[in-house]
């Protein structure tokens, strides 16, 4: 009596063909317009045009982080002319207080921030997913302890955690990586914990137990793949938060040493000339904004292409700051 009758239009094919007596191929597959498994088809789920645009932008940022010389061949630390030159034909973004080209510095300044963000998020993904699984699956004391520690971390702003880590580890790019990584662990752990709570009582997990599946296998084979979408979505959006954290840390002077280029450092050093030479800190600032926006769009897009059911629930994950 609990027939799914109200889903009338959505479930218009909810009838099975072929009684056991009939040959199997007497049943035409329901005419569903779904995409198969090929890579192009997978990307088409999220829309081909936004996919291409996103791919180009991501590639641009990757090149900026890995091979900045390709985009801006100049030396970011060399003086190329007079100081405080406004943007013009030869220096599109103008020059800074020491006569260095702001465009070159903005391109080269991506490296420390983006590297710290991506590596940091890798750390938080691995650690957060593990802690989330542990908290969700271990019963009793261990599970409780893990979740309480995460609760405490959640109560603190990510930046504060990052500052605490920097205070312990010291300054430099490596410590920013660690700081960013630790700061974003609770975001992942919470998402995973919530999903594990939902999935551990799912019928398909019970079915696996009935076939003799142990805990490890259930986690690897059934839980992780079903969590993959959520993790990927959080990870791609989290890069944006990490950019913000990393930029803030270097803005405060915990990152690269001068005169190396860095968005956060340049933002900070240009700040004092904002009234007379707005371009020095504006362009690194815009670069940070662009990176965060791109990361958000990427998160939405990843969510929409990864789920084979295409029932995409791109909810904004909890924001740490």
């Amino acid at each position: 009596m609990t027939a799914t009758d109200r889903q009338d239009t959505r479930d218009s094919h909810d009838t099975a063909p072929a009684s056991p007596g009939l040959p199997p191929d007497a049943s035409p597959a329901p005419p569903r317009r779904r995409f198969g498994g090929s890579a192009v088809a997978v990307f088409a789920r999220g829309g081909l045009v936004p996919g291409i645009v996103l791919a180009v932008l991501v590639l641009f940022f990757v090149v900026m982080a890995v091979l900045p010389g390709v985009i801006a061949p100049g030396d970011p630390t060399a003086s190329v002319g007079g100081a405080f030159q406004a943007p013009d034909g030869s220096h599109w973004f103008g020059t800074d207080d020491l006569g260095r080209d702001v465009l070159t510095r903005t391109v080269w300044g991506a490296q420390p921030i983006l590297l710290a963000s991506v590596l940091g998020i890798l750390i938080s993904t691995v650690a957060g997913v593990s802690l989330g699984l542990l908290g969700g699956l271990a019963r009793g004391f261990v599970g409780g302890l893990v979740m309480r520690v995460l609760d405490v971390m959640l109560a603190l702003p990510a930046l504060l955690i990052a500052l605490m880590v920097v205070a312990i580890v010291g300054t430099g790019v490596t410590s920013i990586v660690i700081a960013v990584g630790v700061a974003h662990i609770p975001a992942f752990a919470r998402v995973v914990y919530g999903s594990v709570q939902r999935l551990r009582t799912a019928d398909f997990v019970a079915a696996a137990r009935l076939f003799g599946a142990g805990r490890v296998r259930t986690v690897v084979r059934h839980l992780l793949p079903n969590l993959a979408t959520e993790i990927a979505v959080v990870a791609s959006s989290a890069i944006g938060w990490a950019v913000l954290t990393a930029a803030t840390l270097s803005f405060l002077g915990f990152g690269v040493a001068l005169p190396a280029p860095d968005w956060g450092v340049d933002l900070s050093s240009g700040g004092q000339y904002l009234e007379t030479a707005w371009w020095i800190s504006t362009f690194p600032g815009l670069a940070i904004t662009a990176a965060i926006l791109l990361s958000n769009f990427l998160g939405d897009y990843v969510g929409s292409i990864l789920d084979p059911r295409r029932t995409v629930r791109v909810r904004r994950p909890w924001l740490p700051n």
Binding site: M1, D8, T9, S12, T15, A16, A206, L210, R221, R309
Partner: protein, 678 residues
């Protein structure tokens, strides 16, 4: 005079770039004080018809043409504002799931008051009085106190009563009830249907009863409209339509339902194929691709609904004089003789099994209260038989099923399988012995695994065979459940509900278990598909010599499958016996009440039933009533029932009941010979 007149209504929904014509030119009337039943499979457009009348279509839907007149007023011409005033005052709707249709953050009283004040110029106090009045009208116990309750504090039946009260608050002239009882238990369903009928008579409302359940229609509707693929294919007075269905689709639907009066061993008829995609409907008759009587003309030309009181849209109607197809067209098959079923060798035995769930009592204190899901069940199932556990939701039947397969551990009592006691965790879960078929196949198949991988998983886990042997076994199982080989490379969501349940069955049988527990195996499926899965289950049992424990709330489904039945009530087994005996001569008043509550797809029989549904609802399993647990709802209960718990006593050969005043005389075991031979 007609109350509602629908003419040539067409409703369209946008789906991506396509347009789905969900309702395609239907016309019908509903008179005052009349119940018109609208019946059909999922996706046939019956809900969309109701939604069109209410103008509550989803954002991508619109009424594309036709007219809807309510008491002479053209509804399609009204502005959204006027329509808002009409809704609730002139026409109201009751939905399937009262939990999602009531606002969970507002007490039910305020929701009714709000509805009243929207349409009537009355003060708060008067509206409140009206709320109490309508709650009284729908038979809500203690309506004054209930005003302050939130929806989640009410039971399902009570919520549906609130929903009806809400709909009736402004005395609409037309009530659209969309699957009003589908989410409820049979006994509650009978109460709600009775209530609807009573209110209709008292307020002389017109009722449009939308349902997939032909049993509900048979007992409650004056006239029936059968919908298929957006069109009405047949309409007529209920008795005539059930006695002499003219359209092959109606006949096939009636043939697909397992019925209480059916001979055992009959195979259920099913409808092959799928309903058409309404974005690209076939040119001719829409049922033609699935119809056994279709000719070339059917595929080319569209039959129109013709006739007077009874009308049908078919070129080759079933004979009007012919006997009811529902009994004549069934193929009778001798019940297969099973091998290895020696009576007296129980395969599964439960001895005084209890399962209690402790309730958490807040953060720091430990609560001593617990939910007694199963309290002392003893039963045995012999090899090769089908044992069914039936009862209302919350009676503990699913927990018992989980205990049998080992997903849960009993808090007391023992289970044994093939003579061996199951005590350690390792013994409890034995994939090669016992398997479970889940109710909802879309939840029990990992959405991330292709069907082939899902099916192979049991073999991989049990390290059976190499890759090739496993693939062969998977292919063999697919054939056995009637799925094409192409299914292996697809994901579960790409299948229909019935196909998914076949996959679920195939996976459960992968390791050749001896006992299969099927928990509501067909309750999530459409009638026409139900019969396919039931037939398949029976065929597989005969072929593989399986033993089934079927758990179901649907006594007609159980009747089709079961050899023996155990009736559960609030964690106790109240009656056990051979299926035939239990259906023919139930000994426990609860069993009798359950049987009487099942709506049968037979108007004569339904109307002849005494209209007095079992009262009350299942008590809480946290504090069960003392003595006999059923006494609070039993008409025969006396003082002794509250004091002493009745033990299971034999009443006939193999039939036991736990009642102080059974409907059949209790017998001593020695009197078996006197039991009438059947």
């Amino acid at each position: 005079m007609t109350l509602l007149g629908v003419r040539d209504l067409r409703t369209q929904l946008r789906r991506g770039r396509e347009v789905v014509t969900a309702v395609d030119g239907i016309s019908f009337d509903v008179g005052p004080g009349e119940t018109v039943g609208l019946v059909g499979e999922s996706g046939c457009g019956k809900t969309m018809t109701g939604m069109s009348i209410m103008r509550l279509l989803p954002p991508h839907g619109r009424i594309a043409g036709g007219s809807i007149r309510l008491a002479g007023r053209e509804l399609t011409a009204l502005s959204e504002r006027e329509m808002r005033r009409t809704r609730g005052r002139d026409v109201a709707m009751v939905f399937q799931d009262p939990m999602t249709s009531l606002n969970p953050t507002m007490p039910v009283g305020r929701q009714i008051v709000e509805a009243v004040r929207l349409h009537r110029e009355v003060g708060r106090a008067q509206a409140r009085d009206r709320a109490v009045e309508v709650l009284n009208l729908v038979g809500m116990p203690q309506p004054e106190q209930r005003l302050a309750s939130f929806p989640h504090e009410l039971s399902g039946g009570q919520r549906q009563r609130v929903m009806i009260a809400l709909a009736l608050a402004c005395e609409p002239r037309l009530l659209i009830a969309d699957e009003p009882t589908t989410a409820l238990d049979v006994t509650i369903q009978a109460q709600i249907l009775e209530l609807l009928q009573e209110l209709r008579d008292r307020l002389s409302m017109g009722v449009l009863l939308v349902t997939h359940d032909l049993g509900v229609i048979a007992g409650r509707a004056d006239r029936v409209l059968v919908m298929y693929a957006g069109r009405i294919v047949e309409s007529g007075p209920t008795r005539e339509l059930f006695a002499r269905p003219r359209h092959p689709y109606t006949a096939a639907l009636l043939g697909a339902i397992p019925r209480l009066d059916q001979e055992k061993g009959e195979q259920l008829r099913s409808i092959p194929g799928l309903p058409p995609d309404l974005a690209h409907p076939p040119a001719g008759c829409r049922f033609a691709p699935r119809c056994a009587f279709a000719t070339e003309r059917c595929h080319a030309e569209n039959p129109v609904l013709t006739g007077g009181r009874t009308a049908y849209a078919c070129f080759h109607p079933r004979p009007a004089s012919g006997v009811s197809l529902t009994t004549a067209d069934r193929t009778s098959r001798p019940r297969p003789v099973r091998s290895g079923s020696e009576p007296g060798t129980p395969l599964l035995e439960l001895t005084d099994v209890h399962r209690e769930f402790p309730l958490s009592g807040g953060l720091f204190q430990r609560s001593r209260r617990c939910l007694k899901a199963v309290s002392g069940i003893s039963l045995s199932v012999s090899a090769g038989e089908t044992f069914a556990l039936v009862g209302e939701s919350g009676c503990g039947k699913s927990t018992t099923g989980r205990l049998i397969v080992g997903l849960d551990e009993p808090t007391a009592g023992t289970l044994s399988f093939a003579g061996e006691a199951l005590t350690t965790r390792r013994e409890r879960i034995r994939p090669q012995d016992r398997q479970l078929v889940f109710q909802d196949p879309s939840a029990s198949l990992d959405p991330r695994l292709k069907v082939g991988a899902s099916l192979a998983e049991p073999l991989v886990l049990q390290r059976e065979g190499d890759r090739r042997a496993r693939a062969a076994r998977v292919a063999e199982m697919l054939d056995q459940v009637g799925l094409p080989r192409g299914a292996l490379e697809k994901y579960p969501h790409e299948f229909s509900g019935g196909q998914r349940q076949r996959i679920g069955l195939a996976r459960a049988l992968m390791l050749r278990p001896r006992l299969v527990v099927a928990d509501e195996p067909v309750s999530a499926l459409d009638v026409s598909v139900q019969s396919q899965v039931l037939n398949l289950m029976k065929a597989l049992q005969a072929e593989l010599g399986l033993t089934y424990v079927v758990i179901s709330h649907d006594l007609s489904v159980v009747r089709y499958l079961a050899d023996r039945i155990g009736v559960m009530y609030l964690g106790k087994l109240v009656e056990v016996g051979p299926a035939e005996e239990i259906y023919r001569r139930p000994a426990h008043p609860y069993t009798a009440g359950l049987l009487a509550a099942i709506p049968e797809p037979d108007p004569e029989r339904e109307r002849a039933k005494r209209r007095k549904p079992m009262e009350g609802e299942l008590p809480s399993a946290i504090d069960p009533p003392s003595g006999c647990r059923f006494r609070t709802r039993c008409t025969l209960a006396r003082e002794v029932c509250a004091r002493e718990e009745p033990p299971l006593r034999p009443v006939a050969a193999g039939q036991f009941t736990a009642c102080h005043f059974p409907l059949r005389e209790p017998q001593e075991p020695a009197d078996h010979a006197l039991a009438p031979a059947r």
